[in-house]
């Protein structure tokens, strides 16, 4: 294994408009670790995740992937990273399978129809394979997005509230997906307001902004 942390963040600062959300934020993450980003609404959790993906640039500081700033090694970083955002990124006029096919094509990956179908079945969408996403419920669309994450075979998952809209079984499913991903040596940075049971996984927490109970 690589002795160095794969993802490292140094002195990160973020501002939205005139308001400073956080300054001097730093952490390191190695394979098999999960970082739970905590903080109240509007404290900058999503902003932090977007900084980590490289979608927005920090006011100060740097995000490094395998020791290199992601601004410099953008291509390699985005090949290893998958981002599950608030919006699912699902086209309503396409079926789940078509959605996954185009996602793979746009990410420059090959597409294996069987693997994609399997991922969709695993997420309980076996009966919706050829329905347009328009007729799917909110939770089902979330599951399609999760299936996309699954077949992306990325090393780093960045997940923004992956549990919104999921039922109890869906939450249990995400927990098992996370455990499997971590066991394979993957990394996760995520936010959630729900309690997760991840026995045996190495989970670290990071507080963004003020503590809620302070």
């Amino acid at each position: 294994m690589n002795p160095h942390p794969v993802l490292s963040v140094h002195g990160l600062a973020c501002a939205r408009g005139d308001r400073t959300l956080f300054t001097d934020l730093g952490f390191e993450l190695a394979g098999g670790e999960l970082l739970m980003v905590q903080g109240g609404n509007g404290q900058g959790k999503t902003s932090l995740l977007r900084l980590l993906t490289g979608l927005s640039g920090p006011v100060a500081g740097e995000v490094r992937w395998r020791g290199e700033a992601i601004a410099k090694s953008r291509e390699a970083f985005h090949r290893d990273m998958a981002y599950l955002a608030h919006a699912n990124g699902i086209k309503e006029d396409l079926t789940p399978l078509e959605n996954l096919r185009f996602q793979a094509g746009l990410a420059g990956r090959g597409f294996d129809t069987d693997a994609a179908e399997q991922a969709l079945r695993k997420l309980g969408l076996a009966r919706c394979l050829d329905l347009p996403a328009r007729v799917l419920s909110f939770g089902q669309r979330r599951r399609v997005a999760l299936a996309g994450l699954l077949i992306a075979s990325a090393l780093l998952w960045i997940m923004d509230e992956p549990l919104t809209g999921l039922d109890v079984r869906g939450v249990a499913l995400v927990e098992s997906l996370l455990r499997e991903h971590l066991q394979r040596g993957g990394m996760v940075v995520m936010t959630t307001h729900q309690a997760l049971t991840l026995d045996g996984a190495s989970v670290r927490t990071l507080q963004v902004g003020r503590r809620e109970d302070a």
Binding site: G54, A87, G89, K91, L94, G105, L106
Partner: protein, 222 residues
């Protein structure tokens, strides 16, 4: 690289095919606007012939604006634009692919109906040929430059109106040379000068616009 570009184009074509209503709206808008002029001005062949190139070209720019406001907006709303920008492939190709898809979907149909509209204005056959040729060179310019405006106004309230104000001035050279070529044909002077300038403007847009759109997309996503 090429695979990515083709995927972007194929995706937009498929989405347009699933939503034919939007597509038809833009085409009907073009036909209606152009057809209103003969009805409003009256059947004077000489006058109609004189205004035809300008009317068709102005209607083409307006019709392209109508569809451009949604070029990136739909993908922005459902989060797929974010995902596309997180692709390892360069955003320039995304912007270029989007513009090409827009031209295939909204530009080519204009070329196909333009001859019919030309007949409405009593244009002679050679002039109709030049009109279609000028549109063939000119409509890609509308898509390429329009993509810049669509990327700049992404996520802004009242973005549609702002897009119009921002992009219409940029369309002016295409309009002048495009309509000018047909005018020159009718006047009996050569069309080469106008078409060459239109072609040069197309090359310039092709080289510059995708980079600007890509940069604008990144700024809009912050």
């Amino acid at each position: 690289m090429l695979g990515f570009l083709l995927t972007v184009i194929r995706r937009d074509l498929l989405l347009a095919a699933r939503r034919r209503g939007d597509w038809l709206t833009a085409q009907f808008f073009f036909v209606m606007v152009v057809s209103l002029f003969p009805l409003g001005i009256g059947p004077e062949p000489e006058l109609l012939k004189r205004i035809a190139p300008g009317v068709v070209w102005v209607a083409a720019t307006l019709a392209s604006l109508l569809s451009l406001s949604r070029l990136f907006a739909d993908d922005h709303r459902d989060g797929s634009l974010e995902q596309m920008l997180l692709s390892p492939e360069p955003a320039v190709l995304l912007a270029l692919g989007k513009a090409i898809a827009h031209w295939l979907i909204y530009g080519i149909p204009l070329l196909l109906v333009a001859p019919v509209l030309g007949i409405q204005f009593a244009l002679p056959a050679e002039a109709i040929g030049v009109l279609v040729l000028s549109l063939a060179i000119g409509t890609p310019i509308l898509s390429l430059l329009g993509a810049v405006g669509a990327a700049l106004t992404l996520g802004l309230r009242g973005g549609g109106v702002l897009l119009t104000l921002l992009i219409l001035p940029l369309y002016v050279p295409a309009l002048i040379f495009g309509a000018g070529a047909v005018d020159a044909m009718l006047a009996g002077t050569g069309v080469e000068a106008n078409l060459s300038l239109l072609g040069a403007f197309f090359m310039l847009s092709l080289l510059v616009a995708p980079w600007v759109s890509a940069a604008a997309l990144r700024v809009s996503m912050e």
